[in-house]
Amino acid sequence: MGKYTLRRIGLMVITLVAISFVTFWIIQLPPGDYVSTLVAQAESRGQVITPEQMAALRVRYGLDDPFLVQYWNWISNIVFHGDFGQSFAYNRPVSTLIWDRVALSFFLSVSTLLFVWAVAFPVGIYSAVKQYSPGDYIATFFGFVGMAIPEFLLALVFLWLGVRYFDQSAGGLFSPEYVDAAWNLGKVLDLASHLWLPILIIGISGTAGLIRVTRANLLDELYKPYVITARAKGLSEWKLLVKYPVRMSLSPFFSTVGWLLPGLISGETIISIVLSLPTTGPLLFGGVLSQDMYLVGSFILILSALTVVGTLLSDLALAWWDPRIRRRYQES
């Protein structure tokens, strides 16, 4: 097992090197660079940037260096100094920018996740056990509707409902009177009264999807011979369900659970923009628009690293959960 983990970590490092390289290459692909964005912005304001100024800016940001040099400067700073570079647009270190927003993204993702699990697992299990019952049809109906409606549309509808009928401020985290207020109970309550909406909106499609997946996985297991064996022992239906088919049906869940890790900080871009939430999503989006290459590159690198780590954690979790997988690892 230890040997397997070590080998996986080795492969992980290689993967990350490849990803960082490709990431850096891709963010340089579009024509132009941050300076041309600056020029365009200046022109729209009626100002002019002279070619000399442009050249000076290019030198300052190292934009004329060969690709490999730029890449090396970027990656060596990350690896050796933990320095993700400077954001052009914000003129602040990328790491500070991201950290500022990670807390909220993280909180939002975790609450959403808990909401999704708390709803989807029981409903999915019920739906499978009582297949083709009215309850199953209702769950299926909401499952498909939830998966089919785009999140941003839901967000808009909820915003409208909130403003029209519940007299809530549209979007954001706080009501106007609390935005600049110091933290107190009122502000916390205000935050809670704003946060449930994004949690619900982001959670709905995840819940709908997970209900369907749980139902399908469990239906695959419910009528297997080992369930009949357990029933023939005299186990009660509830204990039987939890111990055998449900446990078995969670294997696919464990094999993907690690992908949640990058999701924790990716910050639901579209919803955050629609609901004007200061998560990491809009930050990344803005960076891409203005070709803020260190911001975007570093952010994508962090997400990729989390994805790779998450995949490893998933595989280890699966090995812990399923002895058949464990044995395969030990043999390889």
Partner: protein
Amino acid sequence: MLQTPTSDQTTSRRLDPDAPPVLQLTGLRTEFQLEDGVVTAVDGVDLTIRRGETLAVVGESGCGKSVMARSILQLVDRPGRIVGGQVWVPRPASTEVERARGRSRRRRRRRETPAETTVAPEGMVGLIGADPAIIRAVRGKRIAMVFQEPMTSLSAVHRVGDQITEAIQLHAPMPKDVARERAIDLLRRVGIAAPEKRVDAYPFELSGGMRQRVMIAMALSCDPELLIADEPTTALDVTTQAQILELLASLRDERGMAIMLITHDLGVAAQLADSVAVMYLGNVVERGDLAEIFRSPRHPYTRALLRSIPKLGQGRDIRLAPVRGMVPHPFARPSGCPFHDRCDSFQPGRCDTAPPPLIRDDQGHEVRCVLYEEDK
């Protein structure tokens, strides 16, 4: 591991014809409601197994023998449904029922008991429509089952020892280490080498034969009165098959339990059984003593089945005689006697109009065929 000793034993076994029944089926009917129609897999089966008796239920694939076996403990999955008849078993002690009930803390609503048309035989209780706690008290404790596919019938993610101790602790509360010791004893008894080590193995670490031994150990863990073995050797190679049958025979003789052996293999039946029930399309068409059935089969279907077995010393140019025709499509069940369209003794106007009567001779040999009506 020759097969002869078992067959010798069979002939020398003396069965008490007045032993109390451990299972009595009356008019058991199980249907599968499919989209294209209803398939009656078990169509009014009456059977009795007495204490210590080994009954082989034989028939072609699809004749309903497995569904019948599963119907006994109500293990038929949707869309299968038991629609009629009753399964009588000796009434379990009320302490056992209460223990089974205690396991599910929430009280379930009682299923509606079907209007009991027949009075319960003395000391017996009907399982169909019974309180789920009664059914659970019978499952595993009074009647245990061994299934055909030992790989898929064991949970792949639980250690075999845990699966056995679970069964033990369900019906006889005891500390975990005591139950574990019992599990090891059981594994040793069913012939697994190094049981102290194997008890912690996962099913996928064992061979097919060993898995089936584990299944048997699990079934025996609560000392059942009746073991239902549903094609227990079908998935195994011939050598292992002989060993498993040998094991079943010795366990039976040691514990005095009854066995219902479901098999399509008349050879397997001959090795283990005291009596045979021949099933065709959900009906028991003939039932009687093993030797009697092999010596003088009465039902045309039984005769055809026996003709289809190769015999040792048979000339090499003699062709085997398979049963003529095909098992009819389940939706196109022949009227009257279900076998009439494949029968050599078909009597038009008689066999295809009404179900044949049950004829019973003095030795208790039963057959469902009009051919024997005159004898009465």
